[in-house]
Symmetry: C2
Subunit: 314 residues, 2 copies
């Protein structure tokens, strides 16, 4: 890769975590938001390649009703194909008790529930109020923990909502605390429509800290719809956050489509973390090869700037 030898130069910034755990969401959040339905064997190979590139938390699929997410209707067929992957956490989404039962049968070790900070999105996505959705999650989280599973609580629309506009920090804190009180091991704060900016991120994380939510339990999930994801990530790192969600190659966020949701690309994140001297365990070159391989399967180039830059330099 001409011109990138020794780059980015590693220059740590004060007060940042020494290591970041990347929660790779390309195979789930990414493929769920692609228009094409990817064959099960391609998904399995993708996840194997992600693991080989050094990612240690790879969200694999969602045990949601196939009617709602046809892209992930093959969860039962996919998950057993991953059993040879060692030393990697493979969480799955479970929307409700039925999804948890399906996941339990397959020996899943980590699950995630998917909540909303706003009433509008709770209604649109779960057909429930926020409190009704929390009541639905309550037995799911309890049962998962009884089975010894690690439980992640996703929280959508933490910064803005397409129907409600800006989302007050206090409202997010209330639902975040409720999810932790249900027994979630960790939270993922989602900027679902990509409208967060660094001061807002800092304010929300400070408020969560004041409310007693441990920073170690918080992950951040930024979308790059307005190009802000990496700046927001840097602000979160400065607040002590060390779990960051990202999608290999920026999957799920096609910048050419009207529906662009714009997941933060794992490669752009890894480039920044390398520059900051923060360990991730990820082999960036190998990850770029994987994202280009997946882009070929989808028939369009990766929207990740780092993927493009390193590919063109090759």
């Amino acid at each position: 890769m001409t011109g990138t030898t020794g780059l980015p130069m590693a220059v740590p910034a004060p007060g940042l975590p020494a290591r970041v755990r990347i929660h790779e969401v390309g195979a789930r959040d990414g493929l769920q938001n692609e228009s094409a339905v990817v064959p099960t064997e391609v998904k399995a190979e993708f996840i194997h390649r992600l693991a080989a590139a050094g990612l240690t938390t790879i969200e694999a699929t969602s045990f949601v009703h196939p009617k709602w997410v046809p892209q992930l209707a093959d969860a039962e067929q996919l998950f057993p194909r991953l059993s040879d992957i060692a030393g990697v956490d493979l969480p799955v989404l479970v929307p409700n008790a039925r999804g948890l039962a399906r996941a339990t049968e397959l020996g899943v070790g980590r699950v995630a529930v998917f909540g909303s900070a706003t009433e509008s999105f709770a209604k649109a996505n779960l057909n429930r109020t926020v409190d009704e959705s929390l009541a639905m999650f309550d037995p799911v989280v309890a049962q998962a923990r009884e089975h010894g599973m690690h439980v992640r609580g996703y929280l959508s629309m933490c910064f803005g909502d397409p129907w409600e506009g800006p989302v007050p920090v206090a409202q997010v804190v209330r639902v975040a605390k409720a999810l932790m009180d249900l027994g979630c091991d960790e939270l993922s704060l989602g900027d679902t429509i990509g409208v967060a900016t660094p001061g807002h991120v800092t304010a929300l994380l400070a408020a969560l800290g004041e409310a007693g939510v441990a920073t170690e339990a918080i992950g951040v999930h930024f979308h790059d719809t307005y190009g802000q994801a990496l700046a927001n990530t840097y602000a979160a790192l400065q607040c002590g956050v060390s779990t960051v969600d990202a999608s290999a190659g920026g999957l799920g966020g096609c910048p050419f489509a009207k529906s662009a949701t714009g997941n933060l690309a794992t490669e752009d994140l890894v480039w920044m973390l390398r520059g900051l001297g923060i360990e991730t365990g990820v082999d960036l070159d190998r990850l770029v090869v994987t994202s280009n391989w997946m882009a070929d399967r989808l028939g369009r180039p990766s929207p990740s700037r780092t993927v493009r830059a390193l590919t063109h330099k090759g």
Copy 2:
């Protein structure tokens, strides 16, 4: 614009400047790096539209030999067409004494010289060593100041160089100080190949401060080649920098081309600054209209994520 009413929510972060001056480079750095040569009247209308959108520093063109930059060969024809723009600084690039003479005849009030932090780029771009190029700038800066002009010193390759790899901070500080000692009023620190990351930015700005270069005299010029430009900008704001270079619509950085240089898009910057509650004076909606207008002239969509998001929402 459905879904963005009141967004981004303005949440200031501690210690940032209250106001940022955007140094708009789309008409010069942007168009210089586009393959198409834009007609003079289109350039003139572009700059008028940028001014109408609230930008107050708009780099207009370059008085370089037409052989080197055919895209800007019309500097003499363009500049007089801007004389009706009031209250806006319209700096131009002058590579040498001949360029300064041409600019002086036209009544230019602000000029910029274009230096390099590395020997390789000085050789490639100026066919001189770094010190020889400083010697060439010396009388240019002195004469410009005699004419009462404001002088900006661009400094390229401040973070990495395609031939030399990482660029030591001390090397950049030496050339930066030399440019200030020549009499430059301000510097623009260029990450020409886009390899800066936030810790590196912070370290360079700290070193410049220790060397006695006033933060008020420093602008930053980031490229988004690896998606890092906005995170780097946020780091620079935290160091007190309040002048940021950006290119309307991300002009000059086509992400689809192998030669992608990837200027930071002004709209992505304005979105972040709005979210941080930092004043810029820019009307974002009007700027997006302008960038789409220019994209139509160039025959391809803007690579700016904010332009795309706001356009698709329209």
